[in-house]
Amino acid sequence: MMSAKTKIYIPNETTSNSVGSNDINRVISSLKGFDEVEIIRNGSWGAFWLEPFIEVEKDGERKGACYKGVDLSHCKTIDDFMTDFQNREPFDISRIDFIKKQMRIVFSRIGKGDPLDIAFYQSNKGFNSLRNALNLESQEVIDKIKKSGLTGRGGAAFPTGIKMQTVHDQNNSIKYLACNADEGDGGTFSDRLIMESDPFSLIEGMTIAAYAVGASKGFIYLRSEYPLAKSFLSKAIDIANKNNFLGNNILSSDFNFEIDLRIGAGSYVCGEETAMMESIEGRRGLVRSKPPLPAINGLFEKPTLINNVVTLATIPPLLNGSLSEFSEIGSGKSIGTMPFQLCGNILQSGLVETGFDISIGDMIKTFGKETKSGKPIHAIQIGGPLGLYLSSSMMSTKLTIESLQSIKGSVGHGGIVIFDDSVDMSEQAKFSMEFCAKESCGKCTPCRIGSIRGMEIIDRLQINKSSKQDIDLLHDLCETMEATSLCAMGGMTPNPIYSIINHFPGELTKE
């Protein structure tokens, strides 16, 4: 009787590779007897602080251990490695609190298998939703998305179903779908994790959305800083085409859909939807005025559905039995699960998919534990470079869309960056202005020039701490940027600065 081969899982994912996964794969693949085991390059579970997390599956039991900084040079054979592995007290990662206390609906497959193994994807509910969708009228699909309460996970939190309805209702024989994969916010990686560790879920979500709105062509606009995601996506698109999940007459229906992967070129503003369209069309990434809405007149002047990666990857679970589970989580605008990204100076960093209705304090206590440096937490930035800095006295702040809106903040794309007490808030305020100056598309003067003036004012305040004139000027400047910039770049850059003025008294001027 043939017994199943022992499986060794070695993640192939940016963060895991960044701390040695590829090196471990090289070592294990060169050990004597390695052909007696099956090596699977899986995705990451998103418990990044454990990476490189190597798992062994034997006799139906799968356990893993952290191999960070481990020297395997004493191993000559696979048996040596197995002994080494057992000595590391391996455990089942799905049972640790960090994973167990999450509500993984969108990220349910992450880390479990080879991201490009289409059989694995299908045996874990993959493409069932597409089959279900193709058996429904497009309006019925949209109704389900509306019913789910899903809002855009890219930052603006607009109701996804309503956007789809607008595109659906346009009378135009050509419509497009554009997936915004220009995940530029510092402190975010949920889109990258989907694209690298579960790329078929994005393809499936895009195909369903395209069917619902009547688009026959989709673009993925991927930032160039994600080369591994590019490699996974292009392979996944090829595999999906070969298996008739993309292309003509998808799954023997009369629906045709193709996906074209386009690469950005290092511009943050191109994550703004109108700038993204300019870039896809081959121009400078300058922001367009709205109206017209992209849903009415978008890419190449055709009606275009624009959603970010996580939003689109959330669609398959909604058409596959998880709709009521999803829509029963949370209330108001903050429905369903949100992949928060816990990072920066935090011990247990990684992806946390959970409901919005959790305080920042509980998020840290339950998942992140404490700072990596062991020092006290001083500031927490939520929602990317345009998001608020919260102080350590604001731990009861809920992470709902409404709660953060009420203090002039935003959940944004779900990034949570922790700083210990060595942070200089004055430098953080100056950085907000510097980032705006570097990344402004240049269309609106308050954003293009105001941000440079803002850096200069904060520079002066760092020297002459109590200049009332400069403090008034900074307020004036922030108000002008907010009121007169076309997009969020200039319009929201003042938000982190206001939050430093309001929640970190005296720290803007280093008093």
Binding site: N17, G184, G186, G187, P227, R262, I280, R284, G344, N345
Partner: protein
């Protein structure tokens, strides 16, 4: 300039083909030369100025060749919280370069980048297409020495 023509050709007839064509030239040639600009203008029916207008907007496209290895230090918030500023100072002083400069032997160009999506294990540095997490000066130097062997 048959070579340039060959690089551009696959993108001429696709919608918004200028960006992928620029990427292809940057990758093949290492920069966008004056000849390439003229060739692109001809192929896409733009003026030279229009092509220059597009390419100078994007950080990834350069008008001069860069070093053989591009070292990008992440300066975004999550890496800031883990001392990316000190790492930047360490690397600029080690290589005796400012950001956006190239060593005299053309081996290394130092650049900044805002977020590599490796925020959980910062500070991060990307060397060509490889991301180094929990980076420090010695990890970066070790990696550069290994790829140079």
């Amino acid at each position: 300039m048959t070579n340039l023509h060959e690089i551009i050709e696959p993108y001429v007839d696709i919608d918004g083909g200028l960006m992928p064509a620029l990427h292809a030239i940057q990758e093949e040639e290492g920069y966008i030369s004056k000849d390439a600009i003229s060739e692109l203008a001809k192929a896409f029916n733009y003026s030279n100025a229009e092509v220059l207008d597009v390419l100078t907007y994007y950080d990834d496209f350069t008008l001069e060749p860069l070093g053989r290895n591009i070292v990008r230090i992440c300066r975004a918030e999550a890496c800031q919280s883990l001392k990316s500023k000190e790492l930047t100072d360490d690397l600029t002083s080690h290589f005796n370069l400012s950001l956006d400069e190239t060593t005299a032997d053309s081996k290394i160009t130092l650049k900044e980048v805002f977020c590599l999506g490796n925020c959980a294990l910062g500070p991060s540095v990307m060397i060509n297409e490889t991301v180094i997490g929990e980076a420090d000066k010695s990890k970066v130097i070790k990696f550069l020495n290994e790829i140079d062997e």
